[in-house]
């Protein structure tokens, strides 16, 4: 791995096959835990406690997945609703803000951008405690809307920063032309800026969904014991309660990883865009 040969053209074809092989090997090592999760999810109960676990699900069972269907569907549904709610709220808040910061540039705007940058650095556990105190007096504990609002704090600052950066790239002449045609700021925003920022909006939405789907901190502090708990709590209760049925736990984990998989397969370029936009995962 330390060989940093420059890609010198003639040697390239000869040299690449072993690089591909090394790459495959490294990826295999890196993704081994993911394979293991799949393997365990298919393992029979009686094989689970063996001192030497089976490397392949030779006697595969779908018991774990049946348990998911029987017990985890409501959790998955709740997470889906919360995820979509977070996306809508995040985009609704961040897109107009991005437009204002990128194109209208009001006095005090840079202070707001700075605050969003700082907001990203606040540890979730601290936010959770504050939210708990606030929600307790508002009666929003254990509610889906409450969790949507809390989860959107994970994505809104990131969304504002990404959308601002993207919208700054929209040519000024285009907006001037719209103005000359008599379009007001709202019209310009709706018919020009928003459609042109489609890619950035998709990136932001994907991350907003993924983060709220994965959220455990807010779920466990604000939604614990509610009738509508998200999937992260579903898994957490599983680990706590039925310590033996790891096939069911891992099957739930596999199902909970589906959004990640879908996003990586269908929207890989948007993910890469998000990461290089200075993404921070919290």
């Amino acid at each position: 791995m330390k060989t940093i040969t420059t890609p010198s053209r003639p040697r390239r074809t000869r040299a690449t096959w072993w690089k591909t092989a090394t790459g495959l090997l490294l990826t295999g090592v890196m993704l081994f835990p993911v394979y293991w999760m799949l393997n365990v999810s298919f393992t029979r109960n009686q094989d689970m406690r063996k001192g030497h676990p089976d490397l392949f699900p030779a006697h595969g069972t779908l018991r774990g997945y049946r348990a998911v269907l029987e017990q985890q569907l409501p959790y998955l549904g709740t997470s889906l609703v919360i995820g979509l709610g977070t996306v809508v709220l995040t985009v609704a808040l961040a897109a107009p803000a991005g437009y204002a910061l990128a194109k209208l540039r009001p006095r005090g705007g840079s202070v707001l951008s700075f605050l969003f940058l700082v907001a990203q650095m606040i540890p979730g556990i601290v936010m959770a405690m504050g939210f708990y105190a606030v929600y307790l007096s508002l009666g929003l504990l254990q509610s889906v809307p409450g969790l949507i609002v809390a989860d959107s704090t994970l994505a809104v600052p990131f969304a504002v920063l990404v959308l601002t950066a993207f919208m700054s790239g929209i040519p000024e002449e285009l907006l001037q032309a719209a103005k000359a045609d008599g379009a007001g700021p709202l019209r310009t925003f709706r018919s020009i800026v928003l459609p042109m920022s489609r890619n950035a909006v998709v990136t932001v939405s994907l991350f907003a969904f993924l983060w709220s789907w994965s959220d455990f901190v807010f779920a466990s502090t604000l939604a614990g014991g509610s009738t509508h708990e998200p999937i992260t709590l579903g898994i957490y209760h599983y680990i706590g309660n039925n310590n033996q049925e790891w096939n069911a736990i891992m099957a739930t984990a596999v199902v909970a990883s589906l959004p990640t998989t879908v996003i990586l397969v269908l929207a890989q370029r948007y993910v890469a865009a998000g990461v290089t936009a200075g993404a921070m995962k919290d």
Binding site: T6, T20, A94, P96, P106, S257, K281
Partner: protein, 325 residues
């Protein structure tokens, strides 16, 4: 009198607007800037209000929590007596403070070191062009995108003392089993391993994008001058990557200070506080016991904020300096 002077004034308004439509550059720039300013803030208002209500206010409540003597009852009624810095004193005097500080530091330092080193090695490797390079690089993102509870529970089972694959592998090469999660001397190592696994992809992606901006002509010139691979890495890659490295490490540090899920799910900070960090300690004080200690919990959380914001401002300064240069 005032009525008569007002009237022509009023009529002048639509006139002026019409003029503005016809010749936008010449009329009353201050007024136009003014209305533009308000339009902008109308677009910003929802986000600004949101920032105030759902960042500033919870943080204020958190600060308030840390300065009062809260019990469950006064928490609900909101009449807890003001006690100044007493909660902070309690936290500093707590026997958990010193271990939590040591664990947080060790967790952050070791995680960062390995995430960065592995991420850089992989970035250099993937910077070579070979078949499937882009696809494999995308696959490397998986650990970073998985829900933390998924990663943490998978690692928990892999590190299980009796039936985990890690111990089975160790046994296969003649090493005795390790009680990864249940022995106080290994629990911190276990959560660090899981955290490194999760953080490598971020380092890989950011460092890779940094490598892409180093012109390949530099390497070619160095190669002509007879510089070996290691020499080229030392004298070209590392120095030119320094700005990106600084940002990666600082972001990694801010992120690592926040890590709570992985530790809580894998070990709950135990056994016997052996993997407790400030984040898990704060959670345990506030939510982990039957009798919550919101005051001290909030105090620990605020210490965490101070640290995160300190490094955060450092990050912003580094970034700004790079923009300037």
């Amino acid at each position: 009198m005032s009525h008569t002077t007002h009237l022509p004034d009023r009529r002048a308004v639509p006139d002026r607007d019409e003029a503005a439509g016809a010749a936008p550059d010449r009329t009353t720039p201050r007024r136009r800037a003014h209305s533009r300013h308000w339009t902008a803030w109308a677009f910003l208002a929802p986000a600004a209000l949101y920032l105030l209500l759902f960042y500033a206010y919870p943080l204020y409540r958190n600060l308030d929590l840390s300065l009062r003597d809260y019990t469950v009852r006064s928490f609900v009624r909101g009449d807890a007596p003001f006690t100044g810095l007493a909660n902070y004193q309690t936290v500093f005097d707590d026997p958990t403070f010193a271990p939590a500080l040591a664990h947080t530091t060790a967790f952050a330092a070791v995680s960062l070191l390995f995430q960065y080193a592995i991420g850089l090695a992989l970035a250099v490797f993937f910077n070579e062009h070979f078949r499937l390079s882009a696809t494999l690089r995308a696959l490397f993102l998986v650990p970073w995108l998985l829900p933390l509870i998924v990663s943490a529970s998978t690692w928990s089972w892999m590190l299980n003392s009796d039936s985990g694959i890690v111990n089975a592998a160790l046994n296969a090469v003649g090493i005795d089993s390790v009680n990864w999660l249940t022995s106080p001397s290994w629990s911190l190592t276990s959560v660090i391993i899981a955290n490194i696994w999760i953080g490598v992809p971020f380092n890989l992606v950011v460092l890779y994008s940094g490598l892409q901006s180093i012109p390949s002509s530099l390497y070619e010139a160095a190669a002509l001058d007879g510089a070996g691979a290691w020499r080229r890495f030392r004298s070209i890659t590392l120095p030119l990557l320094r700005p990106v490295s600084a940002i990666t490490l600082l972001l990694g540090l801010i992120y690592t200070l926040k890590v709570f899920d992985i530790i809580w799910i894998m070990t709950k900070g135990g056994p016997a506080d052996s993997s407790t960090t400030f984040a898990t300690w704060s959670y345990r004080l506030g939510f982990g016991n039957l009798l919550p200690a919101f005051g001290p919990g909030a105090a620990v959380g605020n210490l965490l904020i101070v640290a995160a914001l300190g490094f955060g401002l450092m990050h912003l300064r580094v970034q700004r300096k790079q923009y300037a240069s």
